[in-house]
Symmetry: C2
Subunit: 394 residues, 2 copies
C-alpha cells in the first residue's frame, strides 16, 4: 500500500509507467527497503534490478523471486508490484527467522513488463534471457520519440550488471482472470502459459444504401465480420486444452447508420495450452473464413501477426508449489496462465514456476484491481516454502 502511493490515481489505481519519474520513485523505495533487509542491489544494462541475499554456497546459482513494478497507464496496485513485494517479504521472513539458505536468493524487478510506453512487452526479462537483443530494444521509441536508452539514463537506471545464471525462478502474481475467485480457491498452481496466435483480418464487400439494396444483393462486410466473430467464439468454446478465442478490435467503414458496411478490419486472438491444438484452431479459423467469404460474397484477407508458443513450467518446481500449498493447508488448483508473464521468458533459461492469487472480479489492467490481504499473504507463504525447498538450507 505504501508503494501504491507512488503514482496513485484518484480512482484508487496506480499510474507508474515504465522509465518515468514515478517508476524511478518506485524503484528507489524498493531499493531502500532491500538495503534495509541487508540485500545487495545491482542494476543491469536494461534497468532490471536484482537484490541479493548471500547463501551458504557462494558458487550456487541464485533462486530468484520477482516480477515488475511498472504499471499500465490506468493500472492497479497489484499487477507486478505484488510479485516483487512478495519476494522481499519472503526474504524479510527468513531474516526474522534467522534462516540461511544454501543457494543465494534474489528479488528481481524486471523493466517494462507492460509494454504500454515502449514495445515489446516483457522487455527486461526478454533481454535478460536473450529473446531480445539489448542494442535493438535500447533504440525503441515512445510516442514522443524518446528512446529506451534515453529514458533509462534519465531515471538513472542504465546499470552495469552483467547477465548471470539463475538457479530457479518463482513469480507470484494476481491471476488477472476470474477462475480462482469463481471456484473460491486461494492458491493457483500455475502449469504454464497459453500459446497465442494473433491475426489481422480485413473484409471487403461493397458499401451501398441500406434502403434500396435488397438483402440478397448485398455484400455486407459487417455481416461477414459478425459471423466470423461467432466462429471465433465457437472455436474458443469447443476446442480442448484451455482454448480461448477473442475478437477485441473491430473497425467498420463507412460506419454510417444507413449505409451497408463495405469494409471491416478486425483482429482475432486464439490461445491454447497445447501447440498442436492451437494449430488446429488456426486451421478451423481459416476454413471458417473461406466459407463465410463465399456465403457473404466478400473477400477476406488474413495475416498472422503474432505466434507465441505455449510454455510449460518446470514440473519439479510446480510440484513444490503444490506441495507447499498442501502443507500449509491451503486449498489450491492447477491453472494455466492466459497471459504471458516474465516467468515465461525465465522458463526458457531456468526452471520456473508461478503462484496465482485470486483478484476481485478477475479484473486487472484497471484502477479498480483488488485482492484480499489473506490471499496475498497465503501466496507469499507458499512461494517461500517452495523457494526454501529449492534453495536448500545451510
Amino acid at each position: 500500500m505504501e508503494l501504491a502511493r507512488i503514482g496513485a490515481t484518484p480512482k484508487g489505481g496506480v499510474r507508474r509507467v515504465t522509465l518515468t519519474p514515478a517508476d524511478r520513485e518506485g524503484r528507489e523505495l524498493f531499493a531502500r527497503w532491500c538495503r534495509g533487509a541487508g540485500l545487495e542491489v545491482r542494476v543491469d544494462a536494461i534497468g532490471n534490478m536484482f537484490a541479493r541475499r548471500a547463501g551458504a554456497d557462494p558458487e550456487a546459482a541464485p533462486v530468484v523471486m520477482g516480477s515488475h513494478l511498472d504499471t499500465q497507464p490506468n493500472g492497479g496496485k497489484f499487477d507486478g508490484a505484488y510479485g516483487v513485494m512478495a519476494g522481499l517479504e519472503a526474504i524479510r521472513a527468513l531474516n526474522d527467522a534467522g534462516v540461511r539458505t544454501r543457494a543465494p536468493l534474489e528479488v528481481a524487478c524486471w523493466t517494462n513488463e507492460e509494454g504500454s510506453r515502449f514495445v515489446p512487452t516483457m522487455m527486461g526479462s526478454g533481454v535478460f534471457t536473450g529473446v531480445h537483443k539489448l542494442e535493438d530494444v535500447l533504440n525503441n521509441r515512445d510516442v514522443e520519440g524518446i528512446t529506451v536508452s534515453e529514458a533509462l539514463t534519465a531515471i538513472g537506471y542504465r546499470g552495469a550488471a552483467r547477465p548471470h545464471e539463475v538457479g530457479a525462478y518463482f513469480e507470484a502474481h494476481i491471476e488477472q482472470g476470474p477462475v480462482l475467485e469463481d471456484t473460491k480457491t486461494p492458491i493457483g498452481v500455475v502449469q504454464g502459459a497459453l500459446g497465442q496466435r494473433w491475426f489481422d483480418v480485413r473484409i471487403s464487400g461493397q458499401d451501398a444504401h441500406a434502403g434500396p439494396t435488397p438483402m440478397h444483393l448485398r455484400k455486407d462486410a459487417l455481416l461477414a465480420a459478425a459471423r466470423l466473430t461467432l466462429e471465433v467464439n465457437r472455436i474458443g468454446s469447443t476446442f480442448p486444452d484451455n482454448a480461448r478465442g477473442t475478437v477485441g478490435h473491430m473497425q467498420v467503414s463507412p460506419n454510417s447508420r444507413n449505409v451497408i458496411p463495405g469494409e471491416v478490419r478486425m483482429t482475432v486472438d486464439l490461445r491454447n495450452a497445447n501447440d498442436n491444438t492451437l494449430l488446429e484452431m488456426k486451421q478451423d479459423l481459416q476454413k471458417s473464413i473461406g466459407v463465410i467469404a463465399e456465403q457473404c460474397r466478400v473477400s477476406i484477407q488474413v495475416e498472422e501477426v503474432v505466434y507465441f508458443p505455449p510454455s510449460r513450467f518446470a514440473p519439479e518446481l510446480v510440484e513444490r508449489v503444490r506441495a507447499a500449498a498442501s502443507a500449509l493447508g491451503l486449498s489450491h488448483r492447477d491453472i494455466v496462465s492466459g497471459a504471458a508473464h516474465d516467468a515465461v521468458y525465465l522458463s526458457r533459461v531456468a526452471p520456473a514456476a508461478m503462484v496465482f492469487v485470486p483478484c476481485e472480479g478477475g479484473i486487472s489492467h484497471n484502477e479498480t484491481e483488488n485482492a484480499k490481504p489473506e490471499h496475498l499473504a497465503a501466496s507469499c507463504s507458499v512461494m517461500l516454502q517452495a523457494v526454501l525447498e529449492t534453495a536448500g538450507t545451510g
Copy 2:
C-alpha cells in the same frame, strides 16, 4: 453533362452541396434554360424553384415534375439532377411538338434534399408540404455555424413565392439500388417508399483480459453485438413486404486486440413497405435482444430514434406510369423505393408517383454513380406520357 460540370470532381463526380456557390451556379443555369424554354421562374422562402408553363385552364392546379440539384459532398451526376433535367426536357419536347396542356406544368427544384450540410433531409419539400415549419429550419446551422437563412440570402435564393396547390407530382430518379440492373429492366414503376424504424443500441458487458478469462465466464459485448447483427439480417431476410435490416454503425470499446470488449454501441435500421409488418419486425428485434442479453450475460439498451411510416403513391398515377411504359414498348417492373425522396412528402398533399432508372452497380452517393443515356431518355418519355395523361390537352 453540362450541369455536371458545375462542382465537377476529379473522379467524375459532383460536389454541389446545398446553398453553396456551386449550388447557386447550378440553379442559375437551370433558371436560364427554363426562361429559354419560355417558363416563368419563381422562388419561395426556402429556396424551392418552380418553373411554370401556362396551361389552357389558368384555374387548374399545376402538374409538377421535379427533384433536387444539390448533391452529397462526394456525389454523382444523376442523383436528383436527373429528375429536374427530365422535367425540363419533357417541357421542351411539348414546346417542340406545339402541344398545349389543360393544366399548367411546372418543373420544381427542391432545396437541400441531401441534408449533408443542413439537417433535415428533404428540407425544401418538407417545408413546402408543411412537414417542417419554415421558421424552424431557417435557424438550423451547418458545422461552421452558418444558418439556412444566411446561406439562402448569400446565394440570393430567399424568395417571396407563396406555397401553392399541386395538382399532381411526378419525380424521375435513379434507383440508387441494384434491382433494375440485376433484372435487366429499364423502367421501375415505383409503388411507394419503405417505412423506416431506426434504433440506437448500447450493449454493456465487462471488459477483461482475452487470455486469463475462460469463455464461460465472459460478458463479451461484441459477441452479443455479432449475434444481434445476425438477427437483424435474419429479420430483414425473412419478413415479407420488401423487408430490410441493416447494422451500419458499430463502435467497440476499448477496441484493443487482447481485451474482451466491455461495451458496443451500434445502430439498427429496419425498413418495410407495410406498416404492420414493420411493427412486427420491431417486435421480433426486441424479443431477440432479450434472448441475446440473457444468453450473453450483458445488458442491452435500445432506443428508437426515427419512425417514418411507409408511403404509397397514388394508384391512378402509378397506373399511368405503368401504362406509359407499356405503350412505349419498354420492359418495366413494379418497385418500392428503399430510400425517401421529395415525392414522399409531396404524396402527403397531392397525388404523386415516381419513375426509376437503373444505375450502374446500384451505386449512388458516390462519384462513380452512372446511368445509361438510353435508360435516362426512356424514363423521361414515360414521365412525359404520364404527365400528358394527367394534365390533359387543351
